[in-house]
Subunit: 339 residues, 2 copies
DNA sequence: TAAAAGTGTGTTATCGATAACTCAAAATTA
DNA sequence: TAATTTTGAGTTATCGATAACACACTTTTA
């Protein structure tokens, strides 16, 4: 690898002069500048970012930690983050926690040793608390995405889970459904809790009694087999509609229903949180509460970069993005029983 | 930030001794080791990877350069790459070229200055040649994914585009179609060329005449509006089936057909290359040539790590992964004209 | 014409870690 | 007991860049 010393020697100047040419700092005669530039090109010199970062205490690296890279919500978010990062001259160090605290912790350690300038952190859940605290202890700026963590005071970009859920359930109620199941994520994730709350509020608001036996607690990525829905369909009065708390659960639900020979929306209506990204457009079918995923990433990155480059002592900001109810063909008016 | 010097001072030893404790090298008495370890924990010491890399000339960073992070093929590939990287102790530096050579070049420059140990490179197309040459010039090991670049001798993991295309088209021909359109990517991308070749071979093999007016050349991400298909449907004898050269184009095609009021497969059959990832399972509809995306990433990463850690002079390897024809409900027997 | 200001460049120390070498004290051997 | 080996450290140089200071030589100013 060519270093600044190789350039210096060949150009007959000191290393410092080369450094000044590279960074356009200090005073350099036009003649020397040209000569150094020429040698740099001849030798295909590329500055060593490691050495530079070691001195400047700045890596221009930002870590993006998400929980599931195959979920279109997060990939779209990643696009937003990447675009904003690139615009500001940062590179993205990528990490995928798989909703797993241990893997997340591993990555946090990596992140700390890499000396990234900041972290865009989509936490696995409440237990991520310790991992975030670890970042705080080492004074690494971070912005929390999508899920709020109790006890952590930080910039955060959230979706309005409660309202989104309320809207979805209200839509079902308006269609005449009153046996609405909720297939939810784990309760140690704020979005799962809030979607549950929204679900309950909608019931309350429309004078519908709540039936806890209609609520299934899984994980956001844990729809393994269709046995998850068995209990629902063994109820005396099974659900006529299902609210899946995210897109991945919806996929599982739909598959499961198909295996049971149930038609959507003919036999049962289905709604879910989160849309399905660009490939979802192939068959826009599910009624969803769509979140502005790209903005999650973009805004989050902007906040983070402000933190990094600006005044770190600014008070924490909390941004809540609305979701949009998109009514498609997976929901329909509850038909009177044809007995 | 705590450094080994802080530890050394507090533990009453030299920095070198601390370094030895960290790396378990050299001879250290059990007593000193314990004392140093204790101080390290007290001060929450985390080694600075930058400084370490500067000395060792190794960053344990691998850059993953893909063309489209919102495409499920690439996200699944990324998962495979990430899993393999993590297993071997590497972190992923992420880059998204958007099928854009200029953006790709920008990232290559970043990559070079970051001194990554290697690059997993899914090139935008033939013009990526110069960017790859740049890596070669600086002796950065890399593995090329998905698209072969003429003139570049390197490890490469490919899908069998020709065979996959042949199978898809043969399937359509077997269903009685003989007016089969191809909506293809740009011809400076090897997969687009090969899928075109496969398309032609299938025609030849089954004694079907080729009609160039049935071939539309777009880009793999370039399905902007449905005017792209106008020409096809203004033909005297319009197609009864369409072969989209990747999943994103298929999305565009399907949307366009829907806008024209055409039923799939009732009015027209559609097939495409690449499947739709986990969320595609919500409504498995398109007949596809599915590629083992996860393996692309995993195998590619394994090859790369072998290159990095092993003998760099090993001859270039070329791995070709088969695709699987999955017949679903977007294709059906061509019905006789009901005039 | 001497002092002051400006210009262009070099020297040295530093960022945080490690490799290579050195060396005193303890343990072992002859 | 003297010579040798082993043990457990410390010192110095280095990775590649930059900050801070130094300094000779011009040019300007009084």
């Amino acid at each position: 690898m060519i270093t600044i010393y190789d350039i210096a020697e060949k150009a007959g100047v000191s290393a410092m002069t080369v450094s000044r040419v590279i960074n356009n700092t200090g005073r350099i005669s036009e003649e020397t500048r040209k000569r150094v530039r020429k040698v740099m090109e001849e030798l295909h010199y590329i500055p060593n970012a490691l050495a530079r970062s070691l001195v400047s205490q700045k890596t221009n690296l930002i870590s993006l930690l998400i929980t599931d890279i195959t979920n279109p919500f997060y990939t779209t978010l990643a696009r937003g983050a990447e675009d904003a990062a690139k615009k500001a001259g940062y590179r993205l160090l990528f990490a995928n926690s798989d909703e797993d605290y241990v893997k997340e912790k591993d990555y946090v350690d990596m992140i700390l040793s890499t000396r990234v300038d900041g972290v865009l952190f989509a936490p696995a859940g409440d237990h991520s608390h310790d991992n975030l605290l670890q970042l705080q202890k080492h004074q690494i700026p971070f912005v929390v995405l999508d899920r709020e963590i109790p006890g952590i005071d930080a910039d955060v970009v959230l979706g309005d889970s409660k309202e989104g859920a309320r809207n979805l359930v209200a839509h079902l109620i308006a269609l005449g459904h009153h046996r609405i199941a909720l297939v939810n994520g784990k309760q140690d994730v704020s979005t799962a809790r809030l979607r549950y709350t929204g679900y309950k509020e909608a019931h309350l608001l429309h004078g519908l009694a709540l039936d806890e036996s209609l609520v299934v607690h899984l994980g956001f990525r844990d729809f393994q087999d269709d046995s998850a829905l068995n209990e629902l369909f063994q109820l005396n009065e099974p659900p006529t509609a299902i609210f899946a708390a995210n897109n991945m659960l919806a996929v599982g639900v739909i598959q499961s229903l198909r295996q049971r020979g149930l038609q959507v929306p003919g036999d049962i209506s289905v709604v879910c949180f989160d849309d399905f990204g660009p490939t979802g457009a192939i068959n826009p079918f599910l009624t969803v509460a769509a979140q502005p995923a790209y903005q999650f990433g973009q805004l989050g990155m902007q906040l983070l970069i402000e933190r990094i480059e600006g005044d770190a002592s600014v008070e924490s900001r909390r941004i809540m993005l609305p979701s949009e109810l998109i009514i498609r063909s997976s929901t329909q008016q509850l038909l009177p029983l044809t007995t």
